[in-house]
Assembly symmetry: C3
Homo-oligomer: 380 residues x 3
């Protein structure tokens, strides 16, 4: 039974009330603006907003949580038998075979193994919106490692690559395909390209709090700071007005890798619609979900220099990013947001935060809540 | 020259007397019951029992030291040209091709790469005895990682999988094949299925000593505690009477992955018979041994979360499990036992202990003795 | 503009004067004998000798910096279309297919993946000069790990293996091919086989300073001390006269893996000639350089037990060996020397030192200078 919570704006199911009340009592979110939502199976068991300026209907850019739309779109092509993960990419996209890439499979491409974590030359923030132009550049490049010998986060380019796969098969960009086949029919608050009329619901992110004392750089390990180099294409402007204009443009464009606009409930609902179905039958079969969620690579990520485990686009739990059991899958964002589904508990989870956390991944508080919910369900 | 030792019940060759006398003087085994045996080439250079209740003829369950029987049985099929490590498993076992497993090779299957570290649903302790039923379940499953992308200890299932390979090729279970082709003809005290008349020689294991202070959990790293989850199928009962009944049943069944019944001399003799031959010609050629002992994978084991290096079924030395030089091969058991052969020194080694050590692998004292023997032989 | 430096014997371009003057002021090289040279594009921006007995014309053995000649020779075969990295080695060298090596590719062979880090039996120092005999032994051996499952430094054998590839294709040993196609036409002070008449320019290396206090052994991690075992073939004699005779023989032989004779300017010039061309057009196209510099493997090196990343023969930057950005490539030597090119900055760098550093790789001061030069160029 899900009932209104007196602690915050929103609703919480009975088993999770002590967790939410505890958060309220400890005041651990200060004056941050937060949304948390979760389904247990098809039941919305948590849907709250915390903080002075946010409501459950607010929409934010969750950065790489956007990538969950890539995974689900690819899943739909698998479900329909239109895509073979073990086929060479070049079967669908012949130009991709250039410069030693003829043997790269779709599976490798979509699990950060292709060695194409950036375009050469680098695209500007505006050019990043043109996934077709980005795909042309990437198709001509030689991988920066021998394909299959390593993996590393394709922070921006996995959206370009995934979109081109979808476009070659369906004739539509990933954003169009996702909107028409997934978001629209299910009515999800998880947009790739926010309609103008919904702009009033949008909240701009707030920059990271100034770091006091000495803080380790986020990715100190990689020679040549490859990590930062790759990520820098998406860095927000230092000027506040410009940052707002950027954000509005980003929301309109809806770049699949990092430019969605969502509520926490929208994130959770994407996972619930895909796995168990809310408004109609599940988008994907259990077998397709298993294929997407199967770990494809594990170890040190060559780009960001820390441990990672990736499925097809999805992140899998690793130390430091334990959002669920070993069957769980999802994606966090450097803005602090998080989305995942855990087949073991049946939980579909969404989290947004307006204030960017210190570099390194999602807000640690999101992981704590996810872990607490997992414990509650397993002990029930 | 091997002579009786005055320190313990048994025999020791002259070069190893200072080592054994030192152990006696320091009293480092307290009142634990231990067996240690070793061959140097074909000579039994060490065969002792230490402790109040054990003799050299006692028989214990050595847990995963049992897996050495799987490796040697597979080796015999290689030796006879009946098995090709690079063939797909499905060539011998067509049903195995289901759910994305068509390309998995025998080599991958037998080096913990297949992504099948547990059955779904989980088998009970009794059901684990039925390797054919277990094989049916595993043949239908999707690997929990993309085959070839990772490896992780198939603590129980490698016995089921190895047994099914043997059965498909020979028409006999692994336990039957091993008994008829290896143990029986060689008269080894290393049983898969202990005959009723030998039960009087059996000693039950003793549970781990209570841990005082804070102890790290054995496999803290893996998300969802996959490690513990996988191992739990074989956990002993907390009730002492039930534990004894379980042990008796386990000895009768002789599960290849963890349910053999052995003496230390039996362990050492399995390795000596296989590599140099005691009662007749060596069971396996040097070339077959090289194939089995060749490392197939190295790095962090995805299931138990620590460093491992596996050959074909065999463990290879890694930090924390240095039982020999880089050519050495064998297997330890979580009960504390250890067995290996090191081609560099010619040593075949067996060790049993009645008291289970802290979680993490074999008794550290077994490794110290193995390392000391290696030093002695290399300096000779 | 490159001008004479008042600090040391030699020349330095204006942007690097503060760096070189700082080194002089701090006296950080004590009485060590050092050469440092660098090209920025085609301009020699640094060419100095530091220390009482060395000049810019002195020639030293740089140990594994020699391996850069293997990489460049292989590159020339790629450039000319005479070698396919993805072909099995056995296409060029049929005997190599023995003992489970039929599928090993040239790419794997030349990136330390073949599992042949030593010959069996081990060759003596003199026998190491005969690469054809060494190649016969290696062709018959079973890899010490399953090919493709691991990688580890083939400290000596990569020279034998690379030389045999060159010999099978061109009919000439690598040393002959390199001399006739690369060193001779370009007039490089980087010899595989020092002509007798140049012996007066040769300086013998000085042994490591005695270590005071407790020092970690260089490769403590590998079971069986495989690392040291593999390297020991090239260990210098403890007797000083014998060491000098060895050095003279080594210089005459010019073993490709570790026996070149060079000046720092010669090292830098090899990289500049190969990438941008000094005396004529570049030896290799940008595309060939990209193929050689592409990382083939990354992670823990199974032989030396520390992190490494290898291209085709070349080392790539890793923590502890950060000589440049992620596109940089080169090779250091345990004698302390270093050579590399970084496409990002255009720097071609050479460094020699007469006094062997503590075990583990090149002189740390060489890395500091390389990093400082990189910063200067990137800020320009």
């Amino acid at each position: 039974m899900t009932v209104p919570t007196t602690s915050f704006d929103g609703y919480v199911a009975v088993p999770f009330r002590p967790l939410i009340d505890g958060i309220a009592e400890r005041g651990e979110f200060g004056d941050d603006d937060i949304q948390i939502a979760a389904y247990a199976g098809t039941e919305l068991v948590l849907d709250i907003a915390i903080g002075p300026e946010i409501t459950r209907e607010s929409l934010l850019i969750p950065y790489s949580v956007s990538k969950n739309t890539i995974a689900m779109s690819i899943g739909l092509l698998l479900e329909r038998g239109q895509l073979d993960l073990d086929a060479p990419v070049a079967r669908y996209w012949p130009e991709f075979a250039a410069a030693g890439k003829a043997a790269i499979t779709v599976r490798q491409l979509l699990s950060h193994q292709a060695g194409l974590p950036q375009t050469a030359p680098r695209l500007t923030r505006d050019e990043l919106a043109d996934t077709v132009r980005g795909a042309e550049l990437l198709a001509a490049q030689r991988p920066i490692w021998h394909p299959g010998s390593a993996f590393g986060y394709h922070a921006v380019t996995i959206g370009i690559l995934g979109s081109e796969i979808v476009r070659r098969i369906t004739g539509r960009t990933l954003a169009e395909f996702y909107e028409q086949e997934i978001r629209g029919p299910r009515g999800l608050d998880f947009y790739l390209g926010l309609p103008e009329e919904l702009e009033p619901r949008a909240l701009d992110l707030l920059p990271m709090r100034p770091v006091t004392g000495s803080a380790a750089p986020p990715f100190p390990r990689t020679p040549g700071q490859l990590g930062l180099y790759v990520m820098a294409g998406g860095a927000p402007s230092a000027d506040e007005d410009e940052r707002r204009r950027q954000a509005r443009r980003d929301r309109a464009i809806g770049m699949p890798a990092a430019g969605a606009t969502v509520s926490a409930r929208g994130i959770a609902a994407l996972f619930a619609e895909s796995t168990v179905g809310l408004t109609s039958a599940p988008l994907l079969s259990a077998d397709t979900i298993d294929q997407l969620a199967q770990p494809q690579v594990a170890g040190i990520d060559e780009v960001i220099g820390i441990e990672r485990r990736y499925g097809i686009v999805f992140q899998k739990p690793v130390p430091g990013l334990v959002f669920g059991g070993f069957r769980a899958f999802g994606h966090d964002g450097m803005g602090g947001a998080l989305g995942f589904h855990d087949p073991e508990t049946g939980i579909s989870f969404g989290y947004t935060v307006r204030r960017m956390p210190p570099p390194g991944g999602c807000d640690a508080r999101a992981l704590h809540i996810a872990q607490a919910m997992r414990s509650i369900v397993r002990q029930a």
